[in-house]
């Protein structure tokens, strides 16, 4: 719990500064065959914070994520990362700039082992070039050895060590969530978009995942989090944005926002 | 420089255009590049040849040439029959092969691959039945007459042009004015939404095959009337068909026809200027240029 408080505190500092947000989205819209999933939405993510993105099902959170991560191009609007316009870049380029994401439903490579899955997250591996894969110069062997060491460290950090030689398809839902996290951490992203990291995870594992997220944040990683578990949001995030029907409903400190009558209506309305 | 290639190009372009309409419809509605579509042109031509020969044998009067044309009433009658029979061939292949793969949820590329196998089987079946030597609807010779200064055409060629225009207008009206056409366009835009809206996707698929095959049959017969009938005619036309459907923008019927005419004209002028031996390369050059410059085609919408 103290860890969480620290996490919130450091994020508060980041927010109070006037510096340019690390991730800045302006007037993003995306429609699917006439249906506006996200409608003119802007978002600032400040370096060092953990921000929550919440809202009822169908609010457009995942569409927003896909646009920020580059899996989906916006119909209109712009996205800047560290001041650079990345609006038209694909997911692979954004990752190389330090913006990573996980998927709501984990997408491990099922026929590869856990370790191989994690190794796939490594960036700038010289052995991933066809020519050096063929001749295996000292450099690519060294890269691979370093990557292996880091991958082992990450599987350890995320409690997957005992599974490292298992095919990813045998993992449980919670383990898949951890594997996704390990894979993306391999790339050392500066900003991570986490799509429901706790969905379908048992309570013990949930505490562990939360502790890992806090540790990451302390190490300087900025995090944007989609989550339905309000307790988790309240404990991790310094700031939340509430979305409904593709638009911003409210933004602010979690405990304030959750009591906002409009937000309550949006949630109850969705339930009714 | 004579204008003659203009006539040859328009005639050949009409044939390519009719075939390309089928390719573009299958591509936009069934969502795969059908390598067997060329074979539907060959089958159309051979089926018409068979029907026409049978009619000629039964009722010799049908063989006497109509007016200025090289063929008798047996050919137009055979054409109607062949449009229907070629449709049945297409439906049979769909029932045996493509439909089953669709139902198994196969990837698009597996459908492409199977169409490649189907093309080989269909083509060689024709070669087995009719042998590889060329066949003709009639042996009557036609003399071309001047239409414009420097431009000569046979009555058959002019008929091909008129028929192509009639077919395209008919298909265009069918797709834009009839309920069946509207469901086809709906499926092409968004299959999931269309089936939610209560459109019978299977009926649409049958329509696509019947329509595509009937047009292919007409194209094949035209080619048989103005040139000759060979089992490999469909294979030779396949690249021009693909080039025209991409040039015209996948899914656009008027686009396919116009692009077909453009490919035909480009081929004719290449024959005139460079030489007949390079004719088959024209489509490839057009294809590469399109993929480089404007992959969505001239009449296609820019990708969303």
């Amino acid at each position: 719990m103290t860890q969480t408080m620290e996490g919130r505190q450091s994020a508060q500092d980041a927010r109070s500064s006037d510096e340019e947000p690390i991730l800045k989205a302006r007037s993003l819209s995306r429609s699917f065959q006439g249906f506006k999933a996200v409608d003119d939405l802007s978002l600032d993510l400040h370096e060092g914070e953990i921000m929550g993105l919440i809202g009822p099902n169908g609010a457009g959170k995942t569409t927003m994520f896909n646009m920020l991560a580059g899996s989906l191009l916006p119909t209109s609007g712009t996205i800047h990362l560290k001041g650079q316009d990345i609006s038209r870049e694909g997911a692979e380029k954004r990752l190389r700039r330090g913006l990573g994401r996980t998927f709501q439903i984990p997408r491990p490579f099922p026929e590869m082992t856990v370790l191989e899955n994690v190794l796939c997250g490594a960036q700038g591996q010289s052995g991933e070039k066809a020519i050096s894969a063929f001749f295996r110069p000292a450099r690519s062997r060294r890269d691979e050895a370093l990557a292996l060491e880091k991958a082992r460290h990450l599987t350890d950090f995320l409690m997957l060590s005992h599974l490292e030689n298992e095919k990813a398809r045998v993992l449980s839902g919670g383990q898949r969530k951890l594997l996704e996290l390990a894979r993306i951490l391999m790339a050392d992203p500066k900003v991570i978009l986490l799509d429901e990291p706790a969905a379908g995870v048992n309570p013990t594992l949930l505490q562990d995942i939360m502790a890992r997220i806090v540790t990451l944040n302390e190490q300087g990683v900025t995090i944007l989090l989609i989550e339905h578990n309000m307790d988790m949001v309240a404990r991790l995030c310094s700031r939340v944005m509430v979305m409904a029907l593709g638009q911003k409903l409210a933004e602010g400190a979690p405990d304030v926002v959750i009591r906002d009558p409009e937000v309550v209506r949006a949630y109850l309305g969705d339930a009714a | 420089m004579t204008l003659q290639p203009l006539m040859d190009g328009l005639v050949n372009g009409s044939i390519i255009g009719l075939g390309a309409i089928g390719v573009t419809l299958t591509y936009s509605i069934l969502r795969f590049a059908n390598f067997a579509h060329g074979e539907l042109l060959s089958w159309g031509a051979y089926l018409a040849l068979t029907v026409s020969a049978a009619l000629g044998a039964l009722l010799p009067g049908l063989g006497t040439p109509i007016g200025p044309f090289s063929f008798g009433w047996s050919v137009p009658i055979a054409m109607i029959a062949s449009m229907f029979l070629t449709g049945l061939v297409a439906l049979t292949v769909d029932w045996l092969l493509f439909g089953r793969l669709r139902n198994a949820g196969s990837a698009q590329i597996i459908l492409v691959m199977s169409s490649f196998g189907a093309a080989l089987a269909l083509r060689n079946l024709l070669e087995f039945i009719y042998t590889s030597s060329p066949a003709y609807f009639t042996t009557a010779l036609q003399i071309s007459r001047p239409v414009l200064p420097g431009l000569r055409a046979t009555p058959d060629q002019l008929l091909v042009l008129v028929l192509a225009v009639v077919m395209v207008v008919a298909v265009h009206l069918l797709l834009t004015r009839s309920a069946a056409g509207r469901s086809m366009r709906a499926v092409s835009e968004n299959p999931a939404l269309a089936s939610l809206a209560g459109i019978d996707t299977r009926a649409v698929i049958r329509m696509v095959w019947m329509l595509g095959a009937a047009l292919a049959a007409v194209g094949g017969i035209m080619s048989g009337v103005v040139v000759q009938i060979r089992p490999t005619m469909g294979l030779d036309l396949l690249l021009p068909l693909f080039a025209a459907s991409i040039l015209g923008g996948i899914g656009s019927v008027p686009g396919a026809m116009l692009a077909g005419l453009m490919v035909g004209l480009a081929e004719a002028f290449t024959v005139q200027i460079i030489g007949a031996e390079w004719r088959a390369a024209v489509s490839f050059v057009i294809l590469v240029a399109m993929l480089l410059l404007r992959p969505q085609g001239i009449f296609g919408k820019a990708a969303a």
Binding site: C120, G121, E128 | G105, I109, I110, E127, F128, V288
Partner: protein, 332 residues
């Protein structure tokens, strides 16, 4: 006895040239999922480039440069690989079947070029007097056949090991990741187009190498050797062997070549000469139907046990066309 042995050696050598081509196609299709309909064209490029480089100088035609056979083979491979690279660069960013259409067109144009560029390719008569490996042994047929067979066995082994080496490297790991889940691989910074392009070009290189080896083994080449039927034969070999499986590709090549050769001689002995062309077309009908049947019933090959690479291919190929097109929409 000697006759039978040297026929056996001849047969096997020919089958192994197909095995090399088939290994190249396996990298493109089995490992990467790229549909190449122009195999015959790339094989032809390999064969012609190598022949022009190695034949003795002749009047009225480009070359020959009388270079060592090894240089010719490498040149043939590079020529075919470069062509694949160009076609891939042109189409891999677009819809997945544009590559199929473009390779089909390329094969048509290559066939035309072989026929018409007489100053380079020798036109319809092709190129003869292609030096054969161990040509000095030609006096002793048995030894010569054995030496040729040995060369091809070594070539197949080298290609097999090299490709195996590649697919087991970090590069191969990315290729597998892309095939298992393209969206997830992109989220990990892997650019699908780059990797597909590389795999397509390397596969083309191997195909060209196979074509070159075949040309030097037969000794003369002509445009008729590179008709679409060749493409179809190689595809049948790969599908029968089980795509994605290197050993399957080699085995499929030998098996299908055996069936092809046997049914060919059966046709020749059973049918009267004037009916043989028809019977041969029936042979192709049956194989076309067989290819479709395999796609319908056993899409992952008749032979070949549970190769680790086949399950992901199966999953990748089970994706419905709709979800595929949806995926494409999001990429553009």
């Amino acid at each position: 006895m000697i006759d039978l042995l040297s026929y056996g050696a001849f047969f096997l050598t020919m089958a192994l040239t197909y095995a090399v081509i088939c290994l190249g196609l396996n990298l493109q299709w089995g490992q990467t999922g790229l549909f190449n309909v122009g195999v015959a064209g790339f094989v032809a490029v390999g064969a012609y480039v190598s022949s022009i480089l190695t034949t003795p100088a002749i009047d009225g035609r480009l070359g020959g440069f009388d270079l060592p056979i090894v240089i010719g083979w490498l040149g043939g491979g590079l020529g075919a690989g470069f062509l694949c690279f160009l076609l891939g660069a042109l189409t891999l960013r677009l819809r997945s079947d544009y590559l199929a259409i473009a390779t089909f067109g390329a094969a048509v144009v290559i066939q035309l070029a072989l026929l018409n560029l007489e100053g380079i390719t020798g036109g319809p008569f092709g190129i003869g007097f292609i030096p054969r490996p161990f040509g000095t042994l030609a006096e002793q047929p048995g030894l010569f056949a054995a030496a040729n067979l040995a060369v091809l066995i070594v070539l197949v082994l080298v290609c097999y090991l090299a490709l195996q080496h590649l697919t087991r490297s970090p590069w191969g790991r990315v290729l597998r990741a892309l095939r298992e889940d393209e969206e997830a691989a992109k989220a990990l910074g892997k650019d699908p187009v780059t990797y597909r392009l590389q795999a397509f070009a390397i596969g083309g290189f191997v195909m060209g190498l196979g074509g070159a080896a075949q040309a030097h083994f037969i000794g003369f080449i002509a445009p008729d050797n590179y008709l679409p039927t060749l493409t179809f034969q190689v595809w049948t070999m790969l599908i029968v062997g089980g795509s994605g499986n290197m050993r399957g590709a080699i085995l499929g090549a030998i098996l299908v070549w055996a069936i092809w050769a046997l049914s060919g001689s059966l046709v020749a002995s059973v049918f009267p000469p004037d009916q043989q062309a028809r019977a041969a077309s029936l042979q192709i009908v049956l194989i076309g139907v067989a290819l479709c049947l395999v796609l319908l019933l056993r899409p992952y090959g008749i032979l070949g046990e549970a190769g680790t690479l086949r399950a992901p291919l199966r999953r990748a190929l089970r994706r419905t066309p709709n979800s595929l097109s949806e995926g494409q929409k999001t990429n553009v």
